[in-house]
Structure formats: C-alpha cells, structure tokens
C-alpha cells in the first residue's frame, strides 16, 4: 500500500525530521528511466516524490528544469504515456505531479484530475495556476481525493494565506522570488515566512526553490516540514548519463542523511 501525503509527513515528523521531496522530470533523460529513477529516489530515502509532466513553456523554471522538459518533449513524450507509466509504478511513497496549467486545461481539468487519481497520483502542483483561479478545480480534486497543492511565495499576502487555510496535502513554499534552480545561498527570510504560514494553515509546510546541498536541506529542515529538491537533482541526473538512477539514489541519500542529523 502507498502512504498518503499526510502519512508521509507524519512519519517524518515522528522521526523528528523534515520530509524529503525530490523532483524529477518525467521523460528525462527518457521515459524508460522513470521507473528506475522513482525506485532509486525511494531507496535513497524520499518521503514523497514530485514528478514533473513536461510543458513546452515552463515559465516558473530555471535553465536546468527548462532543459529537461525541452529534451523530454523533443523525444516525443506524451501526457498519456506518463499517466500509463506512473500507473504501473509500485511505490510506497506518495507521488505528486508538477505541471503547468495548459496541459491540464487542454486535457480537461476533470479528466486530468481523474486520470491522476487513477494513476495513483495524490497531488498536483501547478505553479502558474493561482489558488483563486482554480476554485472549480478544487471541487473535482476534493471529490477525487487529489490534493491541489497551494503555493506560497515571499510576496504572498495574508489574504492568500487565509484563502488556502483549508487546502489539502501540504503547502509548497517558494523560498525566494524567482524561478527554480540551484542556488549557492539560502534565503534566510524563509524561517519567518514559514512561521507566518503556520499562523494560518495547519497542513505540512514544504520549502522548495534553490535547495541544492545537504547542508542547505538540513538548515531548511529546521524550520519546514518538508524539503523539496529539484534542479540540483536533475542536474546530477543530467551529469551522470551512464547511471542516472545510481547517482540519483546516492544524491538523495545524502540529503536524507543530512535531514536525519538535524
């Protein structure tokens, strides 16, 4: 049986650490790699796994994730293929999709959500789909048991924090104003931001954007319930074409170790 999102966070909390949420792009380096990569992340210690459904115009992403999406699409990866592959994955940790609004809108919002649920996907992160624009989708999502993951940014207003009060899953906190991508410096304002969020919402709070070393993950894990690692992981996959899964696994393990020794 696969854990739910809240079970996954609960387990980590029990272990007195933040949950580790690595991100990979479906179809990168190829769709065939998806299964072994997910297994490797799980083996490396992922608590949840974010799978990116590539979009042609990923305007919230930095160069590494843009490149991964572009290559995946250039290889001809289709949304239906991703659903099919994901459905066949036997993993115990929850899977979340990250994609952009147009692939969802185009497939049909209800259909995309239903297909997600059928493939075992428990949540959707859609960086260009603000909370207020997705009210209707929320209903379907709720009825399907798929969490529409709310995003919070350093610029977010209290009104937004109130709006997402009843969201399911977890809060995706964007640690910086900017796009995804490995950064050498952490934003030290993220602690206060997480505290601000906690005053309004009671689901777990994960932090992403720019976390690229175990040390940064450890620091973030001190304030947040979950730590999302995207570009740094995809870069490792990119740079180790011979053995993407092996290198992904040891990369993730280093993060898990860091989170455990907080």
């Amino acid at each position: 049986m696969t854990m739910t999102i809240s079970e996954a966070f609960a387990r980590a909390r029990q272990e007195n650490r933040a949950a580790l949420i690595p991100y990979i792009t479906a179809g990168y380096p190829s769709l065939e790699h998806l299964e072994s990569l997910v297994k490797a992340l799980e083996a490396g210690g992922a608590d949840l796994i974010e799978i990116g459904v590539p979009f042609s115009d990923p305007l919230a992403d930095g160069p590494i994730l843009q490149q991964a999406a572009t290559e995946a699409l250039a290889r001809g990866v289709k949304v239906q293929q991703i659903f099919d592959r994901v459905k066949d994955l036997a993993v115990s940790v929850p899977l979340i999709f990250l994609t952009y609004v147009n692939p969802i809108y185009r497939r049909g919002i209800d259909r995309f959500i239903t297909d997600s649920r059928r493939s075992g996907v428990q949540g959707l992160i859609v960086p260009d789909w603000p909370w207020n624009e997705m009210r209707e989708a929320q209903e379907t999502a709720q009825s399907q048991g798929v969490a529409m993951i709310p995003l919070v940014a350093p610029t977010s207003t209290d009104a937004h924090l109130k709006d997402i009060r009843n969201a399911a899953g977890f809060v995706y906190t964007v640690s910086v104003t900017g796009v995804t991508g490995a950064r050498s410096q952490l934003n030290h304002g993220v602690g206060p931001l997480v505290e601000r969020i906690r005053q309004h919402v009671h689901i777990p709070i994960a932090v992403g954007f720019g976390i690229s070393t175990p040390e940064q993950a450890r620091e973030t894990g001190r304030v947040a319930d979950g730590v999302i690692v995207g570009s740094a992981l995809v870069r490792v996959i990119r740079d180790n074409r011979d053995d993407p899964s092996g290198s992904a696994e040891s990369f993730v393990r280093a993060f898990r170790d860091a989170l455990e020794t907080k």
Partner: protein, 398 residues
C-alpha cells in the same frame, strides 16, 4: 444594436477568457498594479500627462485620410489610420508611454519588456529613456539576428538587450524569460507588456492605452465623411492595434475584422492563425486561443511578419470572436508581401508587414466589398522600414 457589456469583470475575465495565470509570487504585484492603474485612470493629472506626451512627443493625433489610388483600384473607398507616423514607427508607443508613466507613478525604477520584431522593445526603451529609467529587453536569439536594426536602436537608447536562447528563440520564449525576470525582481521591476495579452490587468490596460487610436479615428472619420466606416480592418498579432481601433466602435454598426497571419497557409502547420483555429488554452497569464498540440504543448507560430509570429492572442479578441462581435480572417505571407508592394506603389506608404496583412485582406475581398459599397478603414499599425531587409531577402530567396 445592444450595448456591449463592459469587460473585463473584477477577476479580469472577458466572458470565459482572460484571468491571471501566473506564479503566486506575482499575484500581489498584479493586485497592486490593478489598483494603481484604476487610480491612475481616473486621475486627471495622469491622463493629462499621458495625453500631453502623446501629442507633443509621440506626434498624435495620427493622420487619417482616404487612400485615393487604392480606392480607385478597388472600386470602393478605403481609408488609412496612420499609426506608422507615431514616433518610433508603430502603435506600440501609445501603450509604452502609458505603462512607463504608471511605472514612474508606482515608484518602480527598473523596466523590463519582451519583444519579437523589436517594435515594442524600441517603444519601451524610448519611454524608459524619456523618463530616465533603466530598461532591459528580452528578445529571442532568432529575432535578434533578424532584427539587428531594432536591437541597435534599443541599445542606442540605453536599454540592455538580453538574447534568449531557449525554446523557439522567438517572442514566445522572450516572454517566458521576461516573466522569469519579473518573478525574480518583482519588488522593484515593472513589466511592460506589449500587447493585449498577459494576466489581468494587462489586456484591459493595454486596450485602454491603445484605444486612443479608435477614439481619434472615429472623430476623424465622422469629420471627413459625416458617417462611420462600414468595415474596420486591422492585423492581429497579440491584438493591441486591432483592439485599439475596434474598441471605440464596439457599439457602432461597423464590421470589425481582425487579420491573422496564415504564414504558408493555415493547413500547413506553418502559420499564426490562432483565432482561425480557435483552440482554447492558457499561456502567459491568460486563457484565450492558442496554437497547441493535443497535450497542450504550445506549437511554434510562423509568419513572415515578426510582429504576428505569436501562438497566442489577447483574451478580449477571443471574446469578440466568441460573441461574433468581430470576424477574424487570415492572410498568407505571399498575399501580405503583394499588398506590401501595392500600398508602396499606389500610395507612397511602405507598410509594416503586419499592417500589410490588413491591406491584403481588403484587396482579396474586393468584390464582396464592392457589392456592399463599403467604406473600409484600415489600421496601418506601423511602417515597413524595419521589414525592407526581410522582404528583400525573402524575395531573393523565392
């Protein structure tokens, strides 16, 4: 004719179209932009400053006159609204003067913009220079190569030009990159969008700034002919010049016709006829029509005219199309080129290739328009000097 509903609604919707599809990071700035714009709109000082600049700097009102030789050739009256006479050579500056004034009012010191052909980039760099603000312009690598003159013009005016190497390396990707910059530098940066596209309030705001075209044209046309045109024809890229001239006539008994770029032909896959295809989708902040595949991946657009070479279109045009308030037709590269030559020879006006699409449609429809005894007003959105090299190259290539 019933009055049209006032759109967009408070959530930035033109019927089902529009909205605000951007990262959460940008939502607060869209709210404050909306608020600042609403204030500015009713502020006499702001309006006077903007109108003063349009008159004394941009050169408005632009001329409107019957094109007598063209009219004679076609057998019905054709009038031209001369946006090509604006400072920097196209309608784009009506909008950039407005947005940069607003940026100043909001205390933002850094201006960014996307550009395709470079016209909007030049118009933004111009407005920024005039107010002593720093401008950075995103432009696809392909366009930087094709439009070297405009790149140089921007630099001359002190703007930084960032070459975008991702994706199709054209306008779509320049826009992605501009949005990425905006997300990153949201606190001190004003993003000047170049057409009636993007998240609310942009489609509304750009329409309002461009609607000066139609306001002038309506007054001028009535003065000239004591009546209204039967048809208004304008090229549609993002749709700002078209909406700019349509808007003042929306409640008049006037046919509004938007002309998209059919490129090699709408069935070849190499075109930019977004509304002709009419597939709904979401890109760059709003729901509208889009060129896309079955997965919602955006398809590259194609047009000989760099300013029409965009896979989306403004949401208000999608709305007008849905309502049937405007018709949208398309014209191929070849037809546009022919019209480019014809207008130059008959009227001594070298039109922008974008504008040549509108002229071409009027020529194509001559028989029908003759039967209607039409009085056609074409929005000549820009001058063609920027296109002369491309045309020469294209024609040598044929």
């Amino acid at each position: 004719m019933a009055m049209m509903k006032s759109v967009p609604d408070a959530r930035g919707r033109f019927g089902p179209f529009g909205g605000q599809y951007v990262p959460e990071t940008l939502m607060p700035v869209l709210d404050s932009l909306t608020a600042a714009y609403r204030e500015a709109k009713v502020d006499r000082t702001f309006h006077q400053e903007w109108m003063g600049l349009l008159k004394e700097y941009v050169g408005r009102p632009t001329a409107l006159r019957q094109a007598f030789r063209l009219s004679e050739q076609l057998g019905f009256a054709v009038y031209l609204k001369r946006e090509d006479l604006n400072h920097t050579g196209a309608h784009k500056i009506n909008n950039t003067m407005g947005q940069v004034l607003l940026a100043k009012r909001m205390g933002k010191h850094r201006i960014i913009a996307e550009t395709g052909a470079g016209q909007h980039g030049v118009a933004t760099a111009t407005a920024a220079a005039l107010f002593g603000l720093h401008a950075e312009i995103y432009m696809g690598e392909e366009d930087v190569k094709r439009q070297a003159l405009n790149v140089y013009r921007m630099k001359l005016m002190g703007a930084e030009v960032h070459t975008v190497h991702s994706g199709t390396r054209t306008l779509k990707d320049a826009t992605n990159e501009a949005i990425r910059d905006w997300v990153t530098n949201v606190r001190d940066t004003f993003y000047v969008i170049g057409s009636v596209v993007g998240p609310h309030p942009y489609p509304m705001m750009v329409r309002d700034f461009q609607s000066i075209i139609g306001k002038e044209a309506r007054r001028q046309f009535r003065q000239l002919t004591d009546g209204l045109p039967s048809h208004i024809v304008a090229p549609v890229g993002g749709g700002s010049n078209a909406m700019g001239i349509f808007y003042a006539f929306r409640n008049d008994p006037v046919s509004l016709v938007g002309i998209e770029a059919a490129g090699d032909g709408v069935d070849t896959g190499r075109h930019a006829a977004t509304i002709t295809k009419a597939e709904r989708g979401i890109l760059h902040g709003s729901l509208s029509y889009l060129l896309q595949d079955e997965d919602g991946q955006i398809q590259p657009a194609h047009s000989i005219s760099a300013g029409l070479d965009y896979p989306g279109v403004g949401p208000e045009h999608a709305y007008f199309h849905d309502l049937g308030r405007a018709r949208y037709e398309s014209i191929t590269d070849r037809q546009a080129l022919l019209a480019f030559h014809q207008l130059a020879e008959w009227e001594g006006i070298i039109p922008a290739l974008e504008s040549a699409h509108a002229v071409a449609w009027v020529i194509q429809e001559r028989e029908a328009l003759q039967r209607l005894d039409a009085k056609v007003l074409i929005n000549l959105s820009g001058r063609g000097d920027k296109d002369v090299d491309a045309v020469a190259a294209y024609e040598e290539g044929i």
